[in-house]
Every structure is written in C-alpha cells, then in structure tokens.
C-alpha cells in the first residue's frame, strides 16, 4: 500500500494501491466548479462537464456509453462548488480501455450541438425533481439565501433564467481554459501499482493544452449578512417542515477548523450531541437533528438541519435558536470536549479504511489547497486543543444573531408559529420560484 501526493509542475497526483478487489477507482478534480460560474450564467460548469461526457474522441454519446457498459465500467462527471470531477471505476483488467475513454473526455470532448440542446432541455427537469424533494429544496434555498453575493450561493444546476444564457461556445471555452494539467488533481486507488499509475497520469494529460493553472477569483462578501431572517418556502400539503438554520462561517483549513470540528460534534455531529438529544430524544420532534460545518475551499456555511412535524415547526426553530445562542456564548463543557475528541480521533480509521477513501480525502485536501495529509493529521490537532480553545472558537465563529432560517412547509399551517419563533423577519416565497 502506498500513499503519495506528488506536487510537481503538472497535475497533483495521489495514488493509493490495494489489491483487495480487482477494481480501480480514479477521481480527476478540475479546480473551479460551480462557484466559478459567471454571474448570471449559473450552471455553466455543470453543463460543460455533462456535455463533455456525452461524446468524445471517435465516439458519440451512445458509443461511449455502450463501450463503458460493455466493460462493466463507470465514467461519471459531476460538479461541486470547488471542482468539476471526472470519476471512474473499472475492473483492473479493463483499466487501460477505460483510461483511454476518460482521456478522450478530458482532451477531445465533442460538445455536440444536439447534446447541448438536449441538456438545456433536461436541466430544468432536474430543478423540478428538486422542487419535489423537500430536503433538497430546503438546501437549495438555504444555499441561495444564507449569504447573498457569496460564490457558494450560486446553484450548480443553475436557474430557469441562467440556463437560457448558457451557450455551447462558453462551455467549449471553459473546458479548454480549465481542463489543463496544472489545474487538475488526479487520484488513483485500488488494484494498481505506482508504475502503472504514473503511465496512466501521462495518458490522461498528454493531449491537454499546455497552459497554467487557471486563476480563481471568487466572490466572498467582505461583510457577512447581519441580523436574523426567516424564509418560509411555501409548499402545499406538508406534514413537516424541513428546516435549515445557519450562517456564513469559515473555510476548511482555517486555523479554527479543528476546534470547530469538535464544536460541531458536540452540538450536532453525533447521536449524543445536544441537538439530537433535545430535539429527537427528549421531544420526539424530528427523526434527526444535527449540524455541519460545510467543508469547502472558501468560507462556507455552518448549518443546523432537521425535519420537524408541522405542528412543532415553530417551537423547533425557537429551541434551535435558543440552544445555538447558548452554545455560541458558552461553548461546550470540558467533558463534552473530551468526549467529542475521543469520538473524532477514534473515528478517523473509518474514514481512511479503504484505498478509495484515502485517495478521496487526499484529492479533496489538494483541491482545497491544503498541505498533503491535512485531514488525516487532524487527530493530532484535536489532541493539542484545550477545551478553552474550543470555547473561544465558538465565540469567534458562531453567530446565532445572524442566523438565516429556511423552512420548507405549508404556510397556511406553519406561518404564525414560525413568525413567532424568533428567527427575525419572515418572508414567504412559493416553492417553485427558484
């Protein structure tokens, strides 16, 4: 087994070898992602990535799909806020053939007019599917409204309006500009040795343009939004309220990251956490309740989540805000910090148990411009923190007075209680407005 993260001119390369199955995974991350979409053209990175997968080299979409399926392989593209990803899975005996196809997608996507038009027709229907899914809908609205103007508020899917501004030429230009070796992180894991991995990296990148890493200048508001706000996303016939409460916080890799990971675990990252105990165990208001500091390259959200019965939606928001305010002010107790530290240190082996997991963590660290092994070494940072350090981080970074609340529920039955929950000015919007 090896663990190499190489940083030389060209792509950053991660190799994690393990022959416990005859499978090889590869993850190619291309820095940029949805946060780099031009304002008003949200969805462009996703569109370019999906289009690249729909025909490359000498194969059109159908031929590419057929060839991959015949090999029992997968080649998927996706977009996060920070990167476009091209990910593959292959039986090791078919790896060469699958890498050839991936290299075609990177270097010679066809960007066919027919598929471009088809994709523009398809994407609004993905928006429909999100509107049909209360949890996804709550996340979409929260992302948009948590910190107006922030690059992470741009939806990776786009909006009905922004999709009309996506043209094929922009997608082609984006791909040529960003899909360059210096801008990529390539991870390989599984039934592969380092010599083979090096050859594969060469094959994946040798046909790419010789250009430097694209500069990423993303919008982050100088001053985060102040004051509490509540947005009720009105949807008929709900029996629950999908709730999100939070605010703009720090980037993953900030000096407070380790302290906030402990704070997150105490407040809402374990079953024993405060939110789960108060909301689920003591009151039975929601099947689950927790919080998360979103791990991203730029400052991102601290977010509380739950799905409370509609009859207790108001009290659930009020209690969450009350617990949040108390936690921000006083932080965790010494015992809670000890417990969370024990949990986080003890849980690390589960996050790095397989070659694929180790590779994915290393790729993520590289995309976030963190030192090699940053995440795997966090347990050392946990051990060095005193409880007072965690409490100080809570005071610095948690801002309950600026919490934004999003509730996807039926206004007719929940608006009065939500308005009285202490979440600030309440605005009602229709669920299919965005």
């Amino acid at each position: 087994m090896s663990n190499d993260t190489l940083r030389t001119p060209g792509p950053t390369i991660v190799v994690e070898a393990s022959n416990d199955t005859p499978l090889v995974w590869f993850d190619i991350a291309i820095r940029g992602g949805a946060s780099a979409d031009p304002r008003g053209v949200e969805g462009l990175h996703r569109h370019a990535a999906l289009l690249a997968r729909r025909g490359a080299g000498r194969r059109d979409r159908a031929e590419l799909d057929e060839t991959l399926d015949n090999l029992g392989a997968a080649l998927d593209v996706g977009v996060s806020r920070d990167a476009v990803s091209v990910s593959g899975l292959a039986l090791s005996r078919h790896l060469d053939a699958v890498i050839d196809l991936a290299a075609d997608v990177l270097a010679e996507p066809r960007f066919s007019e027919e598929e471009h038009a088809r994709l523009l027709r398809e994407t609004p229907q993905v928006l429909d599917e999100i509107r049909d899914d209360d949890s996804a809908l709550a996340t979409r609205w929260f992302d948009w409204l948590c910190s107006p103007g922030h690059a992470y508020g741009r939806t990776s899917l786009g909006t009905e309006a922004s999709l009309t501004r996506i043209d094929r030429a922009s997608a082609v230009d984006l791909w040529r500009r960003e899909v360059v070796a210096d801008n990529m992180v390539i991870g390989l894991a599984g039934d592969i040795d380092e010599t083979t991995a090096a050859k594969i990296v060469t094959r994946l990148t040798e046909r790419l343009p010789a250009a430097g890493r694209a500069s990423l200048e993303l919008e982050v508001p100088a001053a985060p939004a102040r004051g509490r706000r509540t947005i009720l996303v009105d949807k008929p016939d709900r029996t629950q309220a999908q709730l999100r409460v939070g605010h703009l916080s720090v980037r993953y890799g900030d000096p407070d990251t380790a302290a906030l990971a402990i704070a997150e675990a105490v407040f809402g990252g374990m079953f024993s956490s405060r939110l789960m105990q108060e909301i689920r165990v003591k009151r039975g208001w929601s099947y689950g309740a927790g919080c998360a500091l979103r791990r991203s390259r730029l400052p991102h959200w601290f977010e509380i989540w739950m799905a409370a019965g509609i009859d207790v939606a108001g009290p659930a928001v009020a209690l969450s805000l009350e617990l949040f305010a108390e936690y921000a002010a006083k932080g965790p107790t010494d015992d809670e910090v000890d417990f969370a530290r024990s949990y986080l240190v003890g849980s690390m082996p589960f996050h790095v148990a397989t070659a694929r997991q180790r590779m994915q963590l290393a790729v993520r660290d590289a995309v976030f411009d963190l030192p090699p092994g940053y995440t795997a070494k966090l347990p050392e940072a946990f051990g060095a923190l005193a409880a007072s350090d965690v409490r100080a981080a809570c005071k610095r970074q948690l801002r309950p007075d600026d919490a934004v609340t999003v509730a996807v529920t039926t206004a007719e039955n929940a608006q009065v209680a939500l308005a009285a929950a202490g979440g600030g000015t309440l605005t009602v919007v229709d669920h299919d407005e965005y």
Binding site: D20, T21, D69, G72, L89, E129, K235, T239, S342, F350
Partner: protein
C-alpha cells in the same frame, strides 16, 4: 473452554484474501467470522430473523420500532449510555429493518470489539421497555414516517405499490408500518415481540475485520453462552395468490410531473429465474446504454429518469420500474413505451454481447459490495438470513454468469406481462402540462 461449545459448520471465500466461517454455539447462536486486517476496525452486526413479514395486521411497524428501542435503556445501561459508549470509541451504531430481517450494526475500532459484544449481548437479553421511552420513540418514528412517506412522493409510491400488488402476503404492508398502527402498538405487545424474537437461536452475529478468531469465539461464548434459546414460532408461509389482472391506482400529489412505479411479480431471490431477472433489470434501466434509459430519457425525452430494481426478498416479490416523466409527457405515454420495449425483448432475445454487458456490470457490482468491512458484513448477513446460507453471496455471481439470451427472452415472456403487474401513478395536483401524446 468455549472453543468446545462451538461447531464450525461452513466456510467460503468472502472476497480476495478473506474467508468467512460459520460457527454455531450450543444455544443456537450463529457466528460468521471473516478476518480482514487492512484497517484496525471491525464490523460487528447482529442479524435477527424478524422483519415486517413477522408482524400481524393492525400491529405493523413493530419490527421497525425495535430498530429504535434497542438503543434505549437496559438493566445495566441507563438511557443514552449505549450510544455514548459506542461514540466515545469513535465507533458508530445503526440498524436496519426490512421485510425478512432486522440487523444492528456496530462499526468499532478493533480494540473495542469486546465492548461491542458486551453491549449486543446486553440488549439481546435485558432491554427495558417502559412507557416513557416507548412513547418518545413512537413520536420519532411517526416523524420518520412523515419524512419518508407522507412528505416524500417516492416513499408514497413505494408503499402504495406493495399494498396493491400483494393481497395476502405480509409484504403488502410497509416496513415502517401504517401510521395508525404505529400509534396503536401496545406496550404489552411490544414486550411480547421482544421476548419472542430476540433470542440467540434467532440471531446471527457477523464479525468482519481485524481480530483473532479464537479470542472472538471466547468472547461471544462468554457473553451469550448462558442465554437460553427461545421457543420460536413456527415459520408461517403465506402464498400470495397468482395475480391475473393488472392493478392500477392514481393520485394527485404536489409534484411537477407524473411519476410512475410499475411492479411485475417476480420470484424470490433464491429461485433460479431471479438471477435472470437481475440481468433483465440491468438491460432495461441499469446502465447508461440500457434500453429504457435510451428510449425514454435520450431518444424521446419523455422521462427525466428511469430506474429498475429487483427486490432481494426471500419470497416472490417485484421487479420494479420507476420513471419520472419529463415536462409535457405523461405516465400513460411512458407505459406504452415500456410495453413496446418488453414486447421486443420477449420476441427477440438480446444479443450475446448485450447479455455479456449486463454480466460485466454485475461483476463490478459484486466486487464493489465487498470493498469495506461493513459491506462484506452486510452481504454475508443478508444471504445468511434471507436465503439461509452466506455462501450464496458467491453462488449468485455464478448464477448470473450462466444466464443466456434465451433465458432473458423467456423470463420477460413469463414474468413481465400486463396481467402480473401493478401500477401506481402520482400526478401533479394542478396539472398544467400539455399532453403531447
């Protein structure tokens, strides 16, 4: 001493370099162990042969309720202590219930295996079932049901399909239970259910990971060896009458476009044709080049998604096709396309290359399921409990490899016919889409 109490019954590969072994303790408890030292962790799962099929009408949701109650107070553990002990190690606990089984999952650092065994043995024997905690968990479960069924159109479709497709078999009620039943489960009945099913001779422990087998056998024997076996109910076998005509239900929902769920009666997972239907499901909608995906999503753009799933149940169940209509298209139009594609597959066997494609995908899926210790444990547990023998995790792969193109055409003709299907359609409440058909 305890080594003498165990009987080694079977062994078989469970992925590269891993051998799974079944041992039986004198009180009927079964252990399947598989050593995998790639990480200092263990997957410790306790599977019980009790699922929603073992419930009675009017008391549905009982098996699933235990998935919640089993993390509560025991005679030696105060409320919340189970989770705290596990989380302090860095481990995680969870549980799952389905029609044929319930299992409890602990993922632990290898050094804490003994703790896990102690906790599992404790809650198998000494769970405290009192009104307060039961009522609290009942509220949680009703909220879980609201989230997964009442406010989730896919959950609603799934529930309606099973309720309509099965008239006698217990597969007709949802694993989470009907809301009115969840609210009505009585404390005496809950206690009786625990006494009936939570016993060593109804359980199989799966342990995969970094441990020494003799020490594991000793530990389990010392914690479970004195628990007496229970008098288990005789297995009841309900034969669902053959379906002879199509069943269909429609309902308005707050959704953007039609959603369609079709279930064709299919054999149980252990029957020969199940493997053939697994290949059929892949050829229809299990990959980007699958027939229905190409026709509905790409060629006609009548659907935004299509999925096929063959349920892995012990008794005959369903091959399900789930489709979300695209804007301007209807479920009825999509049904027509499904019928055309099935007729084509029934009349003309697929090429050998097409069948080989599905087998290649199955091979990748097989290995993917065995990548980590939790996945290995789940695979071993499912095959041992649902099909009676963990070694069938390997024989299914062999069965898939033997499927021929003629088999495919034959099972499509036999199973995927209108008279054997049930259809559930959710339609937008305010349908302003234009029907282009």
């Amino acid at each position: 001493m305890s080594l003498l109490s165990w009987t080694l019954e079977a062994e078989a590969p469970a992925g590269r370099g891993t051998t799974a072994r079944r041992h039986r303790l004198s009180n009927g408890l079964v252990l399947i162990s598989a050593i995998d030292r790639r990480a200092p962790i263990v997957a410790l799962q306790t599977w019980f042969r009790v699922g929603s099929r073992h419930e009675k009408p009017g008391a549905t949701g009982m098996a699933h309720l235990f998935e919640h109650l089993m993390f509560g107070q025991t005679e030696s553990l105060p409320p919340g202590e189970f989770d705290r002990l596990v989380e302090r190690t860095g481990g995680e606990s969870n549980a799952a219930t389905w029609v044929d089984w319930t299992y409890y999952r602990l993922s632990l650092p290898a050094r804490d295996l003994a703790l896990g065994i102690r906790l599992e043995a404790e809650r198998m024997q000494h769970l405290v079932l009192e009104s307060g905690p039961v009522e609290s968990e009942r509220d949680v479960v009703t909220n879980e049901r609201r989230e997964r069924v009442e406010d989730d159109v896919d959950g609603w479709l799934d529930e309606q399909l099973m309720a309509l497709a099965f008239t006698l078999h217990p597969y007709r009620w949802p694993t989470i239970g009907w809301m009115e039943d969840i609210r009505a489960l009585s404390l005496p009945d809950i206690r009786a259910f625990y006494r009936t099913w939570y016993a060593p001779n109804n359980a199989t422990i799966i342990c995969v990971g970094d441990f020494e087998e003799p020490a594991l056998l000793d530990l389990i024997a010392s914690h479970y060896g004195s628990i007496p076996p229970a008098q288990l109910p005789e297995p009841s076998q309900v034969h669902e009458p053959a379906q002879t005509r199509e069943r269909i239900v429609r309902a308005p929902k707050p959704i953007a476009t039609d959603r369609l769920l079709v279930g064709y009666k299919a054999p149980g997972q252990d029957e020969a044709d199940w493997a053939v239907l697994e290949i059929v499901a892949t050829l229809l909608a299990g990959c980007p080049s699958a027939r229905l995906y190409r026709r509905l999503v790409i060629a006609t753009e009548a659907a935004s998604s299509v999925d096929a799933q063959l349920t892995p149940f012990r008794d005959p169940s369903l091959l399900r096709l789930a489709v979300t209509a695209a804007r301007g298209h209807t479920a009825d139009e999509i049904l027509g396309v499904i019928d055309e594609e099935l007729a084509l597959m029934a009349e003309t066997p697929p090429s050998k290359a097409e069948v080989e494609k599905a087998k290649a995908i199955a091979e990748t899926d097989f290995w993917t399921s065995l990548v980590d210790v939790d996945g290995k444990a789940e695979a071993l547990g499912h095959y041992e409990i649902a099909l009676g023998d963990f070694r069938k995790v390997n024989t299914l792969a062999e069965r898939l490899a033997q499927v021929t193109a003629d088999d495919v055409a034959r099972v499509v003709r036999q199973y995927l016919v209108k008279d054997r299907r049930t259809i559930v359609i959710a339609e937008p409440e305010n349908d302003d889409t234009e029907d282009e058909s």
